[in-house]
């Protein structure tokens, strides 16, 4: 191993070291950690890994390494914390180019100085830009601003064979070539290592108002949601939260805009929520992904109330407590359960929820759980187009060097 370490130190002069306990990837032992500072250093480290048949996991802040399956092997962790910072920011263009290891909070601070923001919620505290893109993790703002995939204009990736490739560009309109940035967004580090990202930005609004209202159960929520989605008040986000199995259902809409018009719109939203309370501050749960065990549910909009009811009933039947929360205007809900939730209960719950989401034309995936819980469970569920995905993986990473087994279908 020491020879490999020497090679890695040459590839990444800023540092390489034997891995410790804290470097384990979702329970999987790691042999070495390297700290590249640039795409060429990432490429050099990948070459070392390929030579020594070490599987590679890219790590930003390491906040979502337990999403997906544990990798089959993880010989080398590429820690991108030395690749942090804004490379190019022309605020007049509302476009920023950053290194992948840049923490979202650092970026937010830099952008807010110019009255702008990324419009991607930091749903897991501490996340980096690269981690958010690799997992596609986002929160309430996707209602108005789209998901991560809709905010990424371009990127630089290092392929497992060391080739550095660029996709997209730093302009907001571009149809030149394949939109590889879409392919890499949400690919869980299985196709390449993201090193640079270009995002489209949004102006920070002058006024932000949160309109909240509680309801006794899911039955009361249905008519309110459909009235709100039809109203011209058009809130910028619409979240639902419920303590399971049978807590009150809270709806909270975000209205953003100019001082004055935003207040007027918030009043309209409050009326649509049949008596919502308007506040300048968000409820404590806003934008927080429930967990630590998290099931992600997707659905058509009209099935949100039914799905929320079924999730509640399924938890009640299993005697589970937890939290159901998500973007009711988008069709994404997250079910959070305590860490100690039994594996058998999770398996039964997942099966129940898969039945429920079939009617809702969506999917149920076990986004995050202890490795022991995930072992032997089908965490991803049915995946349309899986055969093509295998072929994409085969072309980009024929040696299965990158996070093997972490993604859908064993990819």
């Amino acid at each position: 191993m020491s020879g490999t370490l020497v090679e890695l130190e040459a590839a990444c002069p800023a540092g390489a070291r034997p891995a410790g306990e804290a470097d384990r990837v979702d329970g999987v032992d790691v042999e070495l950690v390297a700290y590249p500072r640039s795409a060429p250093e990432v490429a050099a480290a990948l070459a070392v890994a390929a030579r020594h048949a070490l599987a590679v996991v890219a790590r930003g802040a390491g906040t979502k390494l337990d999403w997906g399956y544990p990798p089959e092997r993880a010989g080398l962790v590429l820690d991108l914390s030395h690749m942090s910072g804004v490379i190019e920011y022309t605020s007049d263009d509302l476009v920023v180019r950053v290194k992948a290891g840049t923490p979202l909070s650092d970026l937010a601070e830099r952008l807010s100085g110019a009255g702008q923001r990324l419009a991607i919620d930091e749903v897991v505290p501490g996340s980096t830009a690269g981690g958010a893109v690799a997992t596609g993790a986002c929160g309430p703002l996707r209602h108005a601003y789209g998901a991560v995939r809709d905010r990424v204009l371009g990127m630089t990736v290092v392929r497992p064979d060391g080739v550095v490739a660029r996709a997209g560009s730093k302009v907001v309109k571009n149809v030149a070539g394949y939109d590889l940035a879409k392919l890499f967004t949400g690919s869980y580090g299985t196709l390449g290592v993201l090193t640079e990202l270009i995002f489209k930005l949004a102006p920070l609004p002058a006024a932000r108002l949160f309109v909240s209202a509680p309801y006794p159960g899911t039955a009361e929520v249905g008519p309110v949601l459909s009235a709100l989605l039809r109203s011209q008040a058009a809130p910028e986000a619409l979240e639902l939260s419920r303590t399971l199995p049978d807590g009150r259902v809270e709806l909270c809409a975000l209205v953003e805009g100019r001082q004055g018009p935003a207040e007027a719109r918030a009043a309209t939203v409050a009326a649509a929520l049949s008596g919502g309370e308007v506040s300048p501050s968000a409820p404590s749960w806003w934008g927080c992904l429930p967990g630590p065990v998290t099931v992600k549910l997707t659905t058509v909009l009209s099935a949100i109330p039914d799905l929320a009811a079924q999730a509640s009933e399924a938890c009640a039947a299993l005697g589970l407590t937890g939290t159901l929360r998500g973007s009711a205007g988008v069709g994404v809900l997250y079910l959070g359960l305590p860490a100690e939730t039994e594996r058998g209960a999770i398996a039964t719950l997942l099966a129940e929820l898969r039945r429920a989401v079939t009617a809702a034309e969506g999917h149920a995936t076990l986004l995050r759980a202890p490795a022991a819980t995930k072992a032997g469970l089908d965490i991803w569920g049915p995946v349309p187009g899986l055969e093509l995905m295998h072929r994409v993986k085969e072309r980009f990473d024929p040696g299965r060097l990158l996070a093997p087994g972490r993604f859908v279908g064993g990819i």
Binding site: N174, Y178, K182, A360, E361, M389, F407, G409
Partner: protein
């Protein structure tokens, strides 16, 4: 269809100078028929090209000589409109405008609105990732498609994405949209519908010169306003449209901007007032705000007639589609003018200023000795300006056959090779719209060629280019 006379209809798309005659055109009526056709092609190793309405502007739907052309224009059913789910499911031959028509009774619309929306098909929009005049605010086709049924180049019918967001796995919908028909044939498309905005306001601002208009665009974007559209025309373009449609733009304008905002009334009105103030600060000498739909249509009339009106200025022209960062608009327009003067060839500018998407029209006389190559050189030099500023060689027209050479200037060989990895995953035998969109290694790309004559849709009086 194999009759040579009938096949002539399908020789080209909206860019008429690339032509090829297929051996067979199949007018498919269903996904099954597309599947059967592609399967036969795959078995025999015969290249095929999918075609919707044929309105593309980059030669993307030009057939392969003696190959098969799969025409989806007859698959025009709106399969479902689900207002409570804000989705519609349509066949690929449905015209873009028909999606919004089907959604309108529910107070909803389909946001992408390419200029050819009366005739262009949703399948073609998926292939080209079409935008439209309002993509500044609403984005492109890729932001509005959640699911696809696709016949792969090997003749398999597969579902990608779906009705709900975030289908697990790679975002193959995102990879497929904008792939210019090289990854398969879309046979069913699920799109997002949006509520019709409460208010729409449109303003025309006239400036003495392009510099000040360009600065106004940058200032509007920098101020954090998100208009649904910002369009610009220069003096040459204005003079052409005045001759053609007498739109009555302010006399003496060196440039005009059209700025449109939509959304909740309470946000739109102050937004427009702010945009107006910015334009006036940057030197607008006259500002007109449309009082209603009729006045809005009058403001847009000149802009929409611009390409068709170019015939009044010049027998031939080359149109480019490059994109630059919005903050560099004034500077780039300045450089374009300098290049034009240097070459002694006129350039009219009509474009989507809000997102930095230039449409310089390089005007020349194809009968005049040596003008055509000089015009081509100038058009290429303008693309060079876009690339030098980190922009794109095509904002909306696509690569097709037309911009293969330009792709090699914008991207490195490694970038292009990486794109081809995706292509080979979908189309290992290379029979699906071969030779388009991404240049193959060592290919000597076609130089940009001028347009000869009007777009077939303009000639037929059913469409405009803008």
């Amino acid at each position: 269809m194999t009759d040579p006379v009938e096949l002539a209809t399908y020789e080209c798309d909206g860019l008429t100078n690339f032509r090829a005659r297929p051996a067979v055109a199949v007018l498919a009526r269903s996904a099954e028929e597309v599947e059967t056709t592609v399967r036969v092609c795959a078995r025999l190793g015969v290249p095929f090209v999918a075609r919707g309405s044929g309105t593309g502007l980059s030669g993307g739907a030009v057939p392969v000589s003696d190959g098969v052309l799969v025409v989806t224009a007859k698959m025009r059913s709106v399969l479902s409109v689900r207002p409570d789910d804000r989705r519609a499911v349509v066949e690929p031959g449905v015209t873009n405008i028909d999606v919004s028509r089907a959604a309108a009774p529910y107070g909803l619309f389909y946001a992408p609105d390419p200029s050819s929306q009366q005739v262009c098909s949703v399948g073609g929009n998926v292939a080209e990732n079409s935008g439209g005049a309002h993509c500044l605010k609403y984005g492109f086709t890729t932001n509005h498609v959640t699911g696809l049924e696709v016949v792969t180049p090997e003749g398999e019918r597969v579902e990608l994405g779906g009705m709900a967001p975030d289908t697990p796995g790679y975002d193959l919908v995102g990879a497929f949209v904008g792939s210019e028909g090289t990854l398969g044939v879309a046979t069913r498309v699920t799109v997002r519908l949006l509520p019709l905005p409460e208010a729409v306001q449109t303003m025309l601002a006239a400036f003495a010169d392009m510099d000040s208009a360009g600065r106004a665009v940058s200032a509007v974007i920098a101020a954090g306003l998100v208009p649904s559209a910002i369009e610009m025309m220069d003096a040459l373009a204005i003079s052409a449209v005045e001759k053609a449609v007498r739109c009555g733009y302010p006399a003496g304008a060196g440039a005009v901007l059209i700025v449109e905002l939509d959304g909740p009334r309470g946000e739109v009105e102050p937004g427009l007032a702010e945009a107006r103030r910015i334009c006036e600060e940057e030197g607008a000498f006259e500002v007109r705000v449309a009082a209603g739909d009729a006045e809005r249509a009058a403001i847009w009339r000149g802009r929409k007639a611009a390409f068709a009106a170019m015939g009044r200025l010049s027998p031939s022209y080359i149109v480019q589609d490059g994109v630059v960062p919005r903050s560099s608009l004034a500077e780039v327009l300045h450089d374009v003018a300098a290049l034009s003067e240097q070459a002694g060839i006129k350039v009219a500018n009509v474009f989507h200023a809000g997102d930095g998407n230039l449409h310089p029209l390089v005007l020349f006389d194809d009968q005049a000795e040596g003008e055509e190559p000089r015009a081509e050189e100038l058009a290429e030099a303008i693309l060079g300006l876009c690339i030098a500023r980190g922009g794109s060689v095509t904002g909306e027209h696509g690569v097709g056959l037309h911009k293969l050479a330009a792709m090699e200037k914008m991207f490195s060989a490694d970038d292009l090779a990486t794109m081809l990895l995706l292509r080979s995953a979908f189309d290992p035998d290379g029979i699906c719209n071969p030779g388009k969109a991404v240049p193959a290694p060592r290919l000597c790309g076609e130089p940009p060629r001028p347009r000869h004559g009007a777009h077939p849709l303009q000639e037929a009086g059913v469409g405009e280019i803008f």
